[in-house]
């Protein structure tokens, strides 16, 4: 019964989304007040229906309803309750439902916030969101219905993929998708502006908090994915330039550019058409990510079971949405001119460079990720792209960006006045260089050329970010939340650069073969292998090893990596054991039984690796602080005629 209810709810949601789109877009165009008034109820109705469908699927999982095909493929009666719930988004159909649910949530949030927007504009924003919802709901119902039944019901389920039986599944997809979907809001704001035929600084002011919030979520989502891969999946690294990872990184890069570009449009009314384009681009890349993961065009350890039919559908959806938006852009953007000026050394310049470099980075990742497809389509044969391509090319655009950050942050709007800040610039640079090189060469006695460069950049960014807020605080001036947010976010960047430099330069790794009682020395630590014993878990059997870790004779930790075999899917999963010690991570993974009690083991010492994810968190907090600044909320609603009062520069 419940699955049918869920299915029905989805169909109703589809209809309501269609109405939302129709009323939201046709209402303002035709001047129908009643239609515009009907948008919010449509939004509410769609949200209720989606929530109902979601609840029905959850209950099917919790209740072990194996007559539902999706539940039978992804769950099992022995699966702990926590994972039975999170299994909902463990595969294609359910993850789409999660996407739809999050889109409905964002739409409701926008509808609530829309009270502060002019009614026609608000209706259009919600209308565009309705179109996006409609597309996803149609896709789900047509090709990926999670409520399909099997007859007769399966006696038990095929179990959730053991890799996904981990707390990471509870947080990574939901938060990541929240970020992805959040860019739909910026997209909707952009489309609404283009449909209105007007884009002023109000528009940027309205769009900023939504975009920054989505960006913060995406930052956390990506960091969680990296964290999860590192800790639980035991892949030994935190970033692989895997196509699906890149699919989340590209919208992040463009989203970062967008956040900065919106600042310029807000403050000085410049870069209007560029900001529009970025808003379209960020969401396009989110959608492209969806496409890549589900269509089977690229091989990835992440991808869902691929199906070209779904690929065709998503591609059609992409063409309609993005093609439509870009056509609107081609039509409206030429009208958006501004006559404001700025000097070479002005803040606008630096933000321009920021945007250019971030977009180049995104384009490079795009080229590398799609290279197999492009090469194939151009009949150039196969090409293979991996970290040896991405790492150097990414750094090519990032290093200049990081250096320019520390300079540009001191620049005034319009006239820069960097000459007045020469001393500050000099002191911060010299201070950073001294500290950076000191740390690189002093604490550790080895490292590549990039180590002191990275350290210097990180410290320089941190110092530069703190100069102005500190100065304002000292002088008793107000420190708006947005400025605090910006500072915190940039400090997060500094932290990330520091962490990445350290990890890249100072990781020790060794694979060893040990007999019980034997020891290995890695990275200053001593690892004594005590042997392997059988272990039994709730739904798996395991071989558990014990290693005693000491440093200079003193015991530091006992690590117990395992190799688990899950009962149902019979896969063998490696559970890495990880401990923190003096700021470094010690990892041990169990390898193969070499016979005679000897086992192979992988040992890694990674200094400061946790800082990477802490840095992402700091960036996201900065974003959240900036987005919640009061001035985004105490906005005068512009008069319906569109003649907005002049905004005082703030």
């Amino acid at each position: 019964m419940l699955p049918e209810l869920g299915h029905f709810a989805l169909i109703l949601a589809l209809l309501l989304a269609a109405l939302q789109a129709l009323f939201g877009l046709a209402g303002p165009a035709l001047g129908r007040e009643r239609w515009m008034a009907a948008v919010t109820p449509a939004v509410a109705g769609q949200a209720v229906m989606v929530a109902t469908a979601f609840a029905c699927l959850v209950s099917a999982f919790v209740g072990n309803d194996f007559s539902v095909a999706y539940v039978a493929e992804n769950s099992n009666s022995a699966l702990p309750l926590f994972y039975r719930v999170t299994a909902l988004w463990g595969a294609h159909e359910g993850s789409l439902l999660l996407w739809i649910a999050l889109l409905a949530s964002w739409t409701v949030a926008v509808a609530i916030g829309a009270a502060r927007l002019p009614p026609r504009f608000a209706a259009r924003v919600l209308g565009v969101l309705g179109l996006v919802s409609f597309g996803f709901l149609l896709f789900t119902l047509a090709t990926s219905n999670p409520f399909l039944r099997i007859d007769p019901p399966a006696p038990d389920g095929r179990d959730l993929n053991p890799i996904l039986q981990d707390p990471g599944l509870a947080v990574h997809p939901p938060i990541l998708y929240t970020g992805y979907v959040g860019f739909a809001v910026a997209f909707a704001f952009a489309c609404a502006a283009m449909l209105e035929g007007r884009l002023d600084q109000h528009w940027a002011r309205w769009t900023r908090p939504w975009t920054t919030a989505a960006w913060a979520f995406l930052t956390c989502g990506i960091a969680l994915g990296s964290f999860w891969a590192y800790y639980e999946l035991g892949w030994g690294g935190y970033w692989f330039w895997d196509p699906v990872e890149n699919a989340s990184f590209m919208p992040w890069l463009v989203g970062t550019a967008l956040v900065h570009s919106l600042a310029v449009t807000d403050k000085r009314g410049l870069f209007k058409s560029w900001t529009l384009l970025l808003a379209i681009l960020a969401f396009s890349l989110s959608m492209l990510g969806t496409f890549l993961v589900r269509s089977g065009v690229l091989v990835s350890v992440h991808s869902f079971a691929a199906d070209p039919t779904r690929g065709v559908f998503i591609l059609a959806f992409l063409i309609i949405m993005i093609g439509g938006a870009l056509t609107l852009y081609a039509w409206r953007a030429p009208l958006l001119k501004s006559s404001a000026g700025f000097e070479l050394g002005a803040r606008e310049s630096f933000l321009l460079f920021n945007n250019v470099l971030l977009v180049i980075a995104a384009a490079t990742v795009f080229a590398g990720t799609l290279a197999p497809l492009i090469s194939d389509a151009l009949r150039l044969g196969t090409v293979s792209v991996g970290p040896p391509y991405f790492n150097p090319t990414f750094m090519l655009s990032m290093l200049p960006l990081l250096a320019l950050l520390s300079v540009g942050i001191h620049a005034n709007w319009k006239r820069g006045r960097l000459k007045d800040r020469q001393r500050t610039l000099l002191y911060t640079l010299v201070g950073a260089a001294v500290l950076g090189c000191g740390v690189a060469f002093g604490i550790w006695s080895h490292g590549a050329l990039l180590t002191p460069v990275g350290m210097t950049l990180a410290i320089w960014i941190a110092l530069s970010s703190l100069v102005d807020p500190f100065d304002r605080w000292r002088r008793g001036l107000s420190l708006p939340r947005a400025v605090i947010g910006m500072t915190v976010a940039h400090l997060g960047v500094a932290l990330a650069v520091l962490a990445l430099t350290t990890v890249q330069s100072f990781t020790s790794e060794q694979d060893v073969a040990l007999a019980p009682g034997a020891s290995a020395a890695v990275g200053g630590y001593d690892f004594r292998f005590e042997g392997v014993k059988p272990v039994e878990g709730p739904n798996y059997d395991a071989q558990g090893a014990t290693l005693v870790v000491s440093r200079h004779g003193a015991r530091v930790a006992v690590l117990k990596p395992e190799k688990r075999q899950y009962w149902v899917q019979r896969q063998v999963i490696s559970e890495t054991a990880i401990r923190m010690s003096r700021g470094s991570n010690i990892l041990v993974a169990l390898g193969e039984d070499l016979g005679g009690g000897r086992w192979s083991l992988r040992i890694q010492i990674r200094p400061l690796v946790s800082l990477i994810w802490l840095a992402a968190l700091v960036m996201a907090i900065g974003g959240a602080l900036a987005a919640s600044d009061r001035r985004y909320r105490t906005q005068q609603v512009a008069a319906a005629a569109g003649a907005a009062a002049a905004e005082p520069a703030a």
Partner: protein, 143 residues
């Protein structure tokens, strides 16, 4: 909806994702060992296609690592070893696209984009700076 072939590919991929390889190979000569580690990280596992043969847990990866070791001990250079692998598995086995004309677009893309970026930025800054210069010296915005 899902064809058998795809299920099998999926299963293979899951095997790849499930565990990682631990490779306690240790060559006597530290220089050879360093080259071994570098090479095995640069070669793609043809089964677990997003992992290097250093990291992939499947038998094929172990066999390929063994081949790398044997070739190193025979005194082959890194380029010769890569060529040996490409002769058998094609370009796909390399993680670093080769510097050949076919891949020119890929390797030149970042540089071309950077050049375009510099050009575009220069033009924009020039136009805007001219607008400011034309103004009487007025107030700036605050940072």
């Amino acid at each position: 909806m899902i064809r058998t072939g795809q299920v099998l590919v999926l299963t293979a991929l899951l095997a790849c994702a499930a565990a990682w390889a631990v490779d306690p190979t240790h060559l006597a000569d530290p220089k050879l060992q360093a080259r071994y580690v570098a090479l095995t990280h640069e070669l793609r596992c043809m089964q677990c296609q997003n992992e290097s043969i250093a990291d992939s847990p499947v038998d094929l990866a172990a066999d390929l690592r063994r081949s790398v070791r044997e070739l190193l001990e025979q005194g082959k250079s890194d380029a010769e070893i890569r060529a040996w692998m490409v002769a058998r598995y094609g370009d796909f086995i390399l993680f670093r696209p080769r510097f050949i004309w076919r891949n020119a677009w890929l390797w030149s893309a970042p540089l071309v984009l950077l050049a375009i970026g510099v050009l575009v930025s220069w033009r924009i800054v020039r136009t805007r700076a001219a607008l400011v210069a034309a103004e009487p010296d007025g107030a700036d915005g605050e940072p």
